[in-house]
Amino acid sequence: MAETKILAFVCNWCSYGGADNAGGMRLKYPADVRLVRVMCSGRIDPVFIIKAFERGADGVIVSGCHPGDCHYTAGNYHARRRFAVFRELMIFMGIDPRRVTFSWVSASEGGKWRDVVSETVERVRALGPFEGYRGLTGRQHG
């Protein structure tokens, strides 16, 4: 199946380490994913996800530390509430939630990172490119 573009927002302390760990373990996963490292999953504003789709992403992965493991104590708990609401909003607006994966991946979970990416890529490839979203500029009055 054709390659898709998946943008992953990962926290500096756990999930980025998890991705690094996957590399260190020589684990293989599809090259569809591009990582953006942020300091904490609490920094990931839902608008980042919207922006990713606007700019050509076909899928988005959001990943942070497991509950209780946040480097900043509670950033991921705040993120969790926000994403819970945002996910329901996406569904309410008719945007396919299968294009976004929310996950907790610790710095030692290289294997889980590989699985999260592989599953997401498989799902998004099946859905196809998200051209419908970035092409929404078509409407013109005049």
């Binding site: 705040h78 819970a84 609401v85 909003l89 008719g94 996950s103 999260v116 970035r134 078509g138």
Partner: protein
């Protein structure tokens, strides 16, 4: 002179406040009024046409009103939730405003049309109202009134949308949001939109163009920023020059928040906001 007008006159005459923010008769029905002298107090009116949520006039963004001096404000029960929100979010100090609560039995859809409150005339948000008696007040005027009739049609519409296929929902929102011209009037009238600089006023990340892509982003972001804060006063929907059903979004999110976090916007300035707080045991069935 009625109870309300007499109270306003006295507050102004005693120098307790410099301005009374209330309602008056305008060329097209009832409208916001700013009474600064005792003799003008008899201009004040309060009836079922007073649909406006006046509390946004208390936010620091309204410099021209702050410049008048200490305000008194007329609020309905529902408006006190906005007021509580502004106090909770450090935008208003309770002691800096005199709050005049007016007992309400529901308002009309349109402030320019005089009518009795009935099933087909009452504003949708008033249906099923549980906060007709303002509590966060210094003075309370008016007699208790019966509950407004009917059941919210917005809730019904949300149920309808929820039952649709994703494609149908998307088509619905595309149709609604294609009318948006990105004037941001929904933001300007919102008591919760007190940011000095809005995300939408920057070049990034939101596209300011009124194409569907920009409009989807704006309305999702607006709805998210209202999460847990919106009190469903309906001002955004009332002002929209394109008649976009914005309450559907706000109310949907309020329902999600109530279901997941057990929170409802209330009139208690001390209560905790659901977004900005958490419970370690919050549901995470959607997280891998």
């Amino acid at each position: 002179m009625g109870e309300l007008q007499e109270l306003a006159r006295k507050l102004l005459a005693d120098g307790a406040v410099k301005v009374v923010i209330g309602y008056e008769e305008g060329p097209r029905g009832v409208r916001p009024a700013f009474i600064t002298t005792p003799k003008d107090a008899d201009r004040l009116v309060f009836d079922e046409r007073c649909v406006h949520n006046l509390t946004m006039y208390l936010t620091p963004t309204r410099k021209h009103i702050a410049a008048l001096g200490k305000p008194a404000i007329i609020v309905k029960g529902c408006d006190t939730r906005s007021l509580a929100g502004l106090i909770r979010q450090s935008q208003v100090k309770r002691e800096n405003v005199v709050v005049i609560g007016a007992r309400c039995g529901g308002v009309l859809k349109d402030p320019s049309v005089k009518a009795a409150i009935a099933e087909d005339t009452v504003a949708d948000r008033c249906r099923g109202c549980t906060i007709r008696e303002p509590r966060l007040v210094d003075h309370l005027v008016g007699e208790p009134k019966p509950a407004p009739p009917g059941k919210s049609l917005v809730d019904q519409k949300i149920d309808e949308l929820d039952a649709m296929t994703p494609e149908q929902r998307l088509a619905f929102w595309h149709e609604q949001l294609s009318r948006c011209i990105r004037c941001h009037a929904c933001r300007e009238v919102c008591p919760n939109c007190f940011c000095v600089r809005c995300l939408a006023d920057k070049a990034e990340p939101l596209e300011s163009s009124a194409h569907l892509r920009g409009n989807m982003a704006w309305h999702m972001v607006r709805a998210m920023h209202q999460a847990g804060r919106c009190v469903d006063c309906g001002e955004c929907e009332r002002v929209c020059p394109a008649d976009i059903p914005l309450r559907l979004l706000n109310r949907k999110i309020a329902r999600v928040i109530e279901a997941r976090f057990g929170h409802r916007p209330d009139d208690d300035p001390e209560s905790t906001a659901p977004i900005g707080s958490f419970q370690p045991e919050d549901g995470q069935e959607f997280i891998r």
